[in-house]
Amino acid sequence: MALADTTQIARRRLSGGGWWVAWLIAGAAFVALWWFGSGWPVDYPKAAQVPAMRVVGDAMKWLVNEASFGIFSFVDLTRFIAALIEVPYWISSSLLATGLMTTAGSAGVQIFPPVSWIALIGVLGLAGYWAAGWRLAALVVALMAFIALFGQWTAAMVTLASIVIAVPLGVILGLLLGVLSYRAPLVERVITPLLDLMQTVPVFAYLVPVLFLFGFGPTAAIVATIIYAMPPMTRLTVHALRSVPAEIDELGRMVGATPRQRMWRVMIPAAMPGLMIGANQVIMLSLNIVIIASMIGAGGLGFEVLGALRRLDFGVGLEAGFAIVALAIVLDRLSQAVATKLQFQPHRGEDRRSLIARHPYLVASIVLALGCGLLSLVEAGFQTFPAAGQLSTGSFWAELIAWINVNFFTQLEAFKDFLLLNLLIPLKRLLLSLPWLGVVGLVALAGLQLGGWRLMLLTGGLSFLIAATGQWEKAMTTVYLCGIAVAVAALIGIPIGILAAEKRRLWPAVQAMIDTLQTLPSFVYLMPVVMLFRVGDFTAILAVVLYALAPAIRYTAHGLMQVDPTLIEAGRAAGTTRWQLLTKVKLKLAFPEIMLGLNQTIMLALSMLVITALVGTRDLGQEVYIALAKADTGRGIVAGLAIAFIAIIADRLISAGARRTKARLGLK
């Protein structure tokens, strides 16, 4: 504790404006090291590298081949979990995609066909009407009809079959973990870094072990989806529960509710808006890795996208991509509406009316499904959408890209070259030339200033580990790519978020746009972008910006919309102008939420790294991808962890900074 005391004293002494002296000294030392330094402080010596890759690789081998609990091995356990997940998957897949088969494979005979397309659209439409009226019903029907019209129905059902299993599992697990962390700070402390790892270690890094443990197929894809999509649910659950006003919890206490009742009957309903954002994120992220899931046996729309782009068939790629977006929007809007409906539905007493009168929608849905099923025996068009009626944009998109390419390539190239030669390349050179020891020192100092000696140990330690495992150069390339992308995404996204929150009429359009950005597989626009901008850093940054824009907009808008109306009224009463109201009241109160948004922007930018590897960058994402190609689990996981470390350092520094700012602003 002596160390803690001294730093406390040092901090107190420094807090009176002494920090800038410390930074000046550190900065001078850094520059000196940079200019005059050579040898080990600049390039981490190979001899001192930690053999992490080999150790991790061996550990994974042990886990897959030998780990055992005595009676059964670790693999038995994971295979058992896989078998448990396979039960609901088998049901959903039979119902939606394959129909009930006698046996798997080509020798199987279909006993029952899957649900007819007309019936499914009808049932979803009815659900929309029941939950939120004809507008939602029309939206749902239009989007699902779009999928059918463009010939993506069969593939979409394969995707839907695994999504309807992965999303509820992800939401429930995330909610439970969130409640647990809210109740027990110890759990939260253990879980937070795990969540960071789940969100930022690229799926490719642990794909191979997951395949060994859970088997190759839809189940492994579902497991990978849950690992990737669950963390925001837990995070937002904790955040939402904390934001519930203390009076509400007090009220629960006063009416004599048990802790369990207080949590599930009082706190959870009160936190519902925040929880629903969590559910929204789980849906969006699940559909976001449809492409990767399709690589490990989930098939469906992801496979269509990959195949189409491999043939450079942009039209079909875009159609399949938008089918993913359509699914995401249908699932999200329906689940939001149903949750709201259920929450406000009054408890009715015993109902003596007939079954049909009590459940008109349920009965109508069943009648519709059965009716269409019977009709399809006579007319095949009821079962699968008739091929003759299908639309396609055909070669339109390819021709559009070709037209832009032929007519505007020179201008685009000039613009790109200007940015590359004047901004990107110099910045990259600068970052790569920095001495590792100096950077570790500065990161540690920032940690000390913002959060004390614990944070200093964490940020300094993690950045040292990146150097010690031999990842420094690739990590700096990563910082360069993601740093620029995050800065651009925040510069564009935060103003759009403010605009959407100020002019509520714009919000539905903005929301549709960010949902599209987040779920449209980046592959769909990556290849046209490659045609116009060639492979390289510029293309990679463009793709990351487009993807990471969504959280910057979403959290800003959400934070502003949630500002307590009474405070706004108070501001108005005090005679503020609109601008003052925004800058002095709303933005300040929404500050925590906006910081959470920035945090998520960084996380998503880092999680996109593997995709940037596909256009030929030389960063940690590429390292993970190479490891996958060489079947080198250790190498992949170590590079994946380095990505996660960067994320954790950024996250902790930003959070600590936000806390200090909040304290200064007098927020709680």
Binding site: A83, E86, L100, M101, T102, T103, A104, G105, S106, A107, G108, V109, L207, V208, L211, F212, G215, F216, G217, S294, M295, I296, G297, A298, G299, F303, L306, G307, L309, R310, R311, L312, A402, N405, V406, F409, E413, D417, L420, L421, F523, L526, M527, V530, M531, L532, R534, V535, G536, L614, V615, G616, T617, Q622, Y625, I626, L628, A629, K630, A631
Partner: protein
């Protein structure tokens, strides 16, 4: 449990399925479990796999086609979740295949008969700016290299190599042959062809890694650069070839396209195992089928059916 349910259902429907199946009087399969073949995202592989699946079906086997990533599939092949991969290219998947075979859980089932060709490639219109092509020595001319340059690489030419994962020793080749070129790596196959399409539309300079069998060779007019022919010594021995101090002063090797399967395949479906080993098809046939699908818009299923109908003597010999 889906498995038991499935078994129950299959027992119930046994009579029906026996009546319905139109299997020829082939020897009964050793196991009715489905043999899982992997599908990747390129047309040639889809055709090869479809052909194999049709042949195995003719022999009475139950097959299932599963989408899987080219590299990630090895995990499935080792654990026995997947059973057969029809196209492992020596040029791109050799390391992963060797690693898998070394575990003893995966078996190399021999060549498919197709040979992978890959080399530096350029569109024919570039011959105007660089008349000495396809001879590689033409690339040594500064004017010729500059014709292939971009702002980032000037005055050197820009050569777009395959994904780093493909290897290929292009940096070494550039250095050994003293070529005034800079190697830029495309991250994926799709990015490689997107750049080619873009350049071809504008009749702009481009030099890149192209492999065959592939539809690009049929769609775009162009040629492979002719480097000194590959020999094993060229890669191993610096003394060999034009540059006495460095290896890799030659072209890229041709490579086999392998079939690979789960090691348990031999015992579980011995008949299918022999049929798979027998499978053989050559580049010309495959090139033609790929063109039918990618450029003439036919479906993979139709093209495969047509081949099966036309070549009965060949495939029945495989499953004898």
């Amino acid at each position: 449990m889906p498995k038991t349910l499935r078994n129950l259902l299959s027992a119930l429907a046994l009579g029906a399925s026996l009546a319905i199946t139109s299997l020829p009087a082939a020897a009964a399969p050793e196991s009715t479990d489905p043999i899982k073949l992997t599908l990747h995202d390129w047309t040639g592989q889809l055709i090869t796999t479809q052909l194999m699946a049709e042949v195995l079906k003719k022999a009475g086997y139950n097959v299932e086609l599963v989408t899987a990533d080219y590299l990630a599939q090895f995990a499935g092949l080792e654990s026995g979740d997947l059973h057969l991969a029809m196209e492992i290219w020596a040029t791109t998947g050799q390391e992963a295949l060797d690693a898998a075979v070394a575990t003893g859980k995966v078996e190399n089932l021999g060549e498919t008969g197709m040979q992978a060709k890959e080399e530096w490639w350029y569109p024919t219109y570039m011959k105007e700016k660089c008349p000495g092509l396809p001879n590689w020595e033409a690339l040594l001319e500064p004017a010729c290299a500059e014709a292939f340059a971009t702002a980032e690489t000037a005055p050197n030419g820009r050569y777009l190599g395959g994904p780093v994962t493909w290897g290929g020793f292009d940096e070494e080749r550039v250095s050994a042959l003293g070529l005034p070129f800079e190697v830029v790596h495309a991250g994926t196959d799709a990015a490689l062809f997107a750049e080619l399409e873009s350049a071809y539309q504008r009749q702009a300079p481009v030099m890149l890694w192209i492999y065959a069998p592939h539809w690009a060779v049929a769609k775009y007019e162009g040629e492979w650069v002719e480097f000194p022919e590959y020999t094993a010594e060229c890669y191993a021995d610096p003394a060999w070839g034009g540059n006495p101090n460095e290896a890799y002063d030659c072209g890229k090797p041709f490579g086999a396209i392998w079939k690979a399967g789960w090691a348990g395949l031999k015992d579980k479906w011995p008949g299918a195992y022999r049929g798979i080993q027998g499978f053989s098809i050559d580049n010309a046939e495959m090139g033609q089928m790929i063109t039918e699908v990618d450029l003439n818009g036919k479906s993979v299923q139709d093209v495969a059916d047509a081949w099966i109908a036309a070549n009965e003597a060949r495939w029945s010999a495989w499953i004898q």
